[in-house]
């Protein structure tokens, strides 16, 4: 006798109700979120502990003591100052240079396309390797940049080994590596701008500077903000270039957050202090990101005529 199967009976067990479906679909995102948050909250917990790997018996919650100690430590304020100075200087200079190069390469042509690809080469170099390369080029004995410096009368220029010029040297390396990143973002922005306002300005005979400041720059601002945000977040967390070239020296000239946190963890095995430094760095980057994203959203709304 043939059995009769009710329609849909075979799939009933696997059917997910419409109410549950959104939760199931968002489960992977939730898991990724948990994967990100577990290490983050672990670091927060460590930052409230007296936790040195070499003294495991002394591990205990000291609540805000790690943070409070920073306020009375001149070294911390120096770290904050150097980190902000480094990030500010590199981002401003890279933005100016990147924008300048993007404007030069704005017109689509074979040569411009080739140059823009060639200019991306530094971005493909690992920052630590770039630092080592620059270390050789700035060697006072045989470095090619030292030779060029001597040609313009700068004998014995000490580059990264002098507190007066160490910041300048690492900023130069950062600019060399990351300016192409800003350039390529802004070039993409420039090439995607609508052509009509520029054609109208050309018909009216509007001067170029006016076009740049009143048409190009305002329309390019969302791209500039995006590029600046990405670079700022990266730059304030700079580690490899500075560590490979100077280990944070000479003296405390370049002891930025990441270098300090790295030394605190790997050399001093001071997990609590290292975590507290990184949480402060997170708070700074979070605040900066907020400012940028809010401005970016406001600009977007204005562009849509919503504000």
């Amino acid at each position: 006798m043939a059995s009769v199967t009710q329609p849909g009976a075979r799939t009933r067990g696997f059917r997910i109700s419409k109410r549950v479906l959104p939760y199931v679909l968002s489960l992977p995102a939730l898991l990724v979120c948990i994967g990100i948050l577990i290490p983050f909250f672990s670091a927060v917990v460590y930052s409230f502990q007296r936790y040195r790997l070499s003294q495991p018996w002394a591990r205990q919650f000291n609540w805000g003591e790690n943070y409070l100690n920073f306020f009375t430590d001149p070294g911390f304020w120096n770290t904050l100052r150097v980190s902000l100075l480094y990030a500010g200087t590199t981002v401003i200079l890279e933005l100016l240079l990147g924008l300048g190069i993007a404007l030069l390469l704005q017109r689509r042509s074979t040569v411009n396309n080739f140059i823009s690809i060639m200019l991306l080469l530094p971005l493909m170099t690992a920052p630590a390797l770039a630092a080592l390369m620059w270390k050789l080029m700035t060697n006072p004995g045989f470095g090619i940049l030292s030779y060029f410096a001597s040609l313009i009368g700068l004998e014995n220029f000490r580059w990264a080994s002098s507190p007066d010029t160490a910041l300048l040297t690492v900023v130069l390396v950062d600019i060399w590596v990351y300016t192409p990143f800003i350039m390529i973002l802004l070039l993409a922005g420039l090439r995607s701008l609508p052509t009509q306002p520029f054609e109208a300005a050309a018909l009216d005979g509007v001067p170029r500077t006016f076009v740049f400041f009143r048409i190009t720059l305002p329309m390019l601002t969302p791209y500039i903000l995006t590029a600046t945000l990405f670079r700022l977040l990266d730059s304030i967390q700079q580690f490899d270039i500075i560590y490979a070239m100077t280990q944070g020296g000479p003296g405390d000239t370049l002891t930025v957050f990441q270098v300090e946190a790295y030394l605190n963890f790997f050399q001093s095995t001071n997990v609590g202090r290292s975590a507290a430094l990184l949480i402060i760095l997170w708070a700074i980057t979070y605040a900066l990101s907020n400012v940028f994203i809010k401005n970016w959203l406001r600009l977007r709304e204005r562009a849509r005529g919503e504000a």
């Binding site: 040195r52 790997l53 070499s54 003294q55 495991p56 002394a58 100690n69 070294g75 270390k135 700035t138 060697n139 006072p140 004995g141 014995n156 000490r158 580059w159 990264a160 080994s161 002098s162 507190p163 070239m245 100077t246 280990q247 944070g248 020296g249 000479p250 003296g251 405390d252 030394l263 790997f266 050399q267 001093s268 095995t269 001071n270």
Partner: protein, 481 residues
């Protein structure tokens, strides 16, 4: 076949014939060096296996974490002997020194069972030991059932052996009665002068005998050698490694210390005494006048390569660094010489601070007994002789290797003054730092302060007072001061 030769090697291994007699005998028998070597290794393995069950862990495997170094190269080159002797398998990972200790810290702090044993420095054990990451090796050394009766623990140089043992008490004396043996010394470095004899002869200067002479000699070399050559190479990077070589060796020679240890075991900074300030002032002056232009980036690597390349006339650093620069493809190979150095004119002998490449056992090793078999073989006399005579395993930590005439003559022939430098310095050679868990924090800050002084950012007096103040604060925060 080769019975006579085997008898001769056996007699040598029993101590009845010296190495010179052995080599003469093997040569007279017409053996080629290769055949003699194979025969010797075979007999050594047999002799090693005579009174001890080396096969107890046959079939097992140990994994090592190694730093890229000639000592590791010598061990790898001789690994077949260990495998034949024990029937054990050995695997290893090798990392360059730039990242090596980060790798060790990551492996140990995560309680990884991947590695059974690893290379370390004695300073690192001041972190690893109290953290519970490494094993007190006394348990094995003192166990007759687990250690070859011929191991010869008393053969290790006493100062070097003691430097690897600490009781875990901040400020506790190294090698004290209650100390734990955190590592076994393997090869070590004393800090003395290695100099370019040709440049010294050209300028007409003698080897400096004390700090004042070092200053004037280095300045004259900088001025007169020409070609951009500078007088003296010392380390300068913002790292603990800047403090431990020539700097601390000279500093200790003036009777100065890093920390004071009070009767109740409390620690306090000791580097702002008038004598210490005077020493620092001269050291800073020496670097400013005669050091490399980018001194603040100098690690051991730059110090060594400059000497080897003829960019510097002299270094006050690890003796083995000078040794390596006198061979290989180095431009100045064969032109270097060595001298012991006592910075203090009133001192009777040098007091080199030492670095010891050592072997430690991970507390997370899956089979500690098997790991110990590897450790005792790698630190045993036979491997030390192999490394010292056939590879670049300088400086051995066993007294009997330093007495070995073949080894001494090999060094004397190609490395003038090296053996004499070693013998004069060895009695005063030890770790001159105070053992305590903040070692890396304090020495890195010390190096940073030295950089500020050389860059004239801060006067020596003020810099040392600030350093002492900061160190005292850190010691108090850590409950040590």
């Amino acid at each position: 076949m080769y019975e006579k030769e085997k008898d001769l090697i056996s007699a040598f291994l029993r101590g009845e014939v010296d190495r010179r007699g052995l080599l003469k005998g093997l040569g007279a028998a017409g053996l080629t060096a290769g055949t003699a070597g194979t025969l010797f290794n075979m007999m050594s393995t047999e002799a090693l296996a005579a009174d001890f069950d080396w096969k107890a862990h046959s079939g097992k495997s140990v994994k090592l974490l190694l730093n890229k170094h000639p000592y590791a190269d010598a061990m790898i080159a001789n690994l077949r002997a260990f495998k034949d002797l024990t029937g054990m398998e050995v695997t290893y990972d090798v990392f360059p020194e730039d990242v090596y200790f980060d790798k060790v810290t990551a492996a140990l702090s995560s309680s990884s069972t991947e590695y059974d044993a690893f290379m370390t420095g004695a300073y690192m054990t001041w972190t690893y030991g109290p953290a519970g990451w490494i094993t007190d090796l006394n348990e094995w050394i003192k166990d007759a059932s687990k250690t070859n009766p011929q191991y010869g623990w008393d053969d290790f140089l006493p100062g070097v052996k003691a430097s690897c043992a600490w009781n875990g008490q901040p400020g506790g004396a190294l090698g004290s009665e209650d100390a734990k043996q955190w590592c076994i010394p393997w090869g070590y470095e004393q800090n003395n002068l290695s100099y370019n004899k040709e440049m010294f002869d050209k300028v007409g200067v003698g080897v400096p005998k004390n700090l004042d002479e070092l200053l004037t000699t280095a300045a004259k070399l900088t001025k007169d050698v020409g070609g951009g050559v500078y007088g003296i190479g010392v380390r300068g990077s913002r790292s603990w490694a800047t403090i431990h070589p020539g700097f601390l060796s000279g500093y200790a020679n003036f009777g100065q210390k890093d920390l004071n240890v009070s009767a109740d075991g409390k620690l306090s900074a000791a580097m702002n005494t008038p004598e210490s300030k005077a020493f620092h002032a001269k050291w800073v002056q020496m670097i400013q006048e005669s050091g490399p232009k980018d001194w603040s980036t100098y690690t051991w690597y730059q110090v060594g390569t400059d000497l080897g390349a003829g960019a510097s006339a002299m270094i006050y650093d690890a003796d083995i660094l000078g040794y390596f620069m006198n061979g290989g493809d180095n431009k100045m190979a064969g032109k270097l010489a060595y001298a012991p150095f006592a910075a203090n004119p009133a001192a009777s002998a040098p007091t080199p601070n030492i670095w010891i490449w050592s072997l430690s056992m991970s507390n997370f090793s899956k089979d500690k007994d098997a790991a110990w078999y590897f450790l005792q073989w790698a630190s045993g006399l036979e491997h030390a002789i192999f490394g010292a005579t056939k590879m670049d395993f300088v400086n051995p930590v066993r007294a009997s290797v330093w007495k070995d005439e073949i080894f001494r003559e090999r060094l004397k022939k190609s490395y003038p003054g090296y053996v004499e430098m070693h013998d004069i310095s060895a009695p005063g050679a030890k770790i001159h730092f105070t053992a305590q868990p903040l070692f890396f924090d304090l020495t890195t800050e010390w190096a940073a302060t030295l950089q500020k002084m050389v860059a004239k950012e801060v006067p020596v007096d003020e810099g040392l007072d600030k350093l002492a103040e900061s160190i005292n604060r850190q010691l108090a925060e850590a409950g040590l001061g």
